[in-house]
């Protein structure tokens, strides 16, 4: 039976993981490769490196970060943040990324999804959708959630699938950082509408939040960052909790 995936997200700025890190025994607290190694040992199913570097010249550090993480990690690695062109995607893939995550660029230039799917295969193309509720409609936001994308999240997810996306990374802006739980209503709405996997993100605070998003939220995978970074919970104990609730996981 296909396992539900637990994905850890590393927010990286200028080659260092940001969002406080609280692991004991790390040589350098913010070193992405060190953190990736730790997560891998704990049994994480996949990693996402999200580059939040502000300036273009500092972005060169990203390829070095990907290379360092990919060198010894043999699980899927996705890279997102600021991938706007085919060349940006190629740089990430050449450095060792298995998947690239498109957000703002996919919405402003949807043909980029198809271009990359044709070049690398759909399995290599994640479309990230940041959404928040406006009445009964889940609206897409871009530029780190600051700008309305004038699209309905469910419709956009369907279009992204049609254009060749292999997975949807769905972040609830309403829940992000709140630790009150994933937006199961949003996740289920998108998951029902597409046949490609949906990764839920935003709002993880407790182990039961993951149970909820895999059951009523119909998520195929769940992504979290700080809940793991701060060592509030380990990936392994989360998976054991899920297994106890009858959710298939890789242990």
């Amino acid at each position: 039976m296909l396992s539900k995936r637990i994905i850890a997200c590393l927010d990286v700025r200028d080659g260092q993981v940001v969002k406080g890190i609280n692991f004991e025994g790390l040589r350098a607290a913010g070193d992405p490769a060190e953190l990736a190694r730790r997560y891998n040992a704990e049994g994480v199913d996949e990693l996402v490196i999200l580059d939040i570097t502000a300036t273009l010249e500092r972005r060169r550090a990203l390829a070095d970060t990907i290379r360092a993480v990919a060198r010894e990690l043999f699980i899927p690695l996705a890279v997102g943040g600021g991938i706007r062109t085919e060349a940006d995607a190629a740089a990430a893939v050449d450095a060792g990324a298995d998947k690239v995550s498109l957000n703002t660029a996919a919405l402003s230039n949807p043909s980029l999804i198809t271009t990359l799917a044709e070049r690398y295969g759909s399995q290599a193309v994640l479309v990230a959708i940041d959404a928040k509720w406006e009445g009964d409609r889940a609206a897409v936001y871009v530029r780190s959630g600051s700008t309305p994308g004038n699209r309905d999240a469910v419709e956009w997810a369907k279009e992204a699938e049609d254009r060749g996306a292999g997975e949807i990374l769905l972040t609830s802006i309403d829940r992000d950082g709140t630790k009150i739980g994933f937006d199961c209503r949003l996740t289920a709405a998108v998951s029902r509408a597409v046949s490609i996997p949906v990764i839920a993100s935003g709002g993880a605070g407790t182990l039961d939040h993951f149970v909820d998003v895999f059951t009523s939220g119909r998520a195929d995978a769940a992504l979290a960052a700080s809940i793991f970074h701060y060592a509030e919970t380990s990936v392994r104990s989360l998976k054991q909790h899920l297994k106890q609730h009858g959710i298939p996981v890789r242990l």
Binding site: M1, L2, A70, R71, F74, I75, G96, S195
Partner: protein, 204 residues
Amino acid sequence: MIALIDYKAGNLTSVRKAFAALGAELFTPERPGELDSADAIVVPGVGHFGATRALGPDWIEAILGRVGELRPLLGICLGMQWLFEGSEEAPDLPGLGLLSGQCYKLRGAPHGVNEAVKIPHVGWNSLEIQREGSIVDGVANGAQVYFTHSFVAPVTGDTVAITTHGEPFASIVQRGHVAGVQFHPEKSGDVGLQVLRNFLSMVG
């Protein structure tokens, strides 16, 4: 030297990297004639079966020639499907024909019936080992590996392990020194590395 066939079906960085971690350097032949010096051949690949069209008659002849000399061959994902006679994904295009059977699309289930079965099949799923084979030495029954595909190879006498996603399909095949894996050993953690190590043992 082990030849890694690049027919532009996906990026090969990860495959090369995983073999390098096991101490094996791969070379990418530019022409079929360069396979003469290959001790073994790896055919990777993701995506559409039609991509194997790039491996024309001269490539097929060179690969079958090495296989005839008992050089080990490993097909990964699309590369495994190519070992079979063909695929309904590209009906006009024959496969290598080393293993009998046609590849076909996972049926999945319509929405509302069983929404857990989505196509493509993406993620970690378990290996149900059916019989012994050097390619699964040291791999525990039930071990999980990473898949990403929509088409599958049929379960036949060459099947070493099956995996179930709505229906059972062949996830590991082996006939003598020809082996194939539907999952991505380069992305499947320690289990995947063990499978690659087993292949390297076949190379000797």
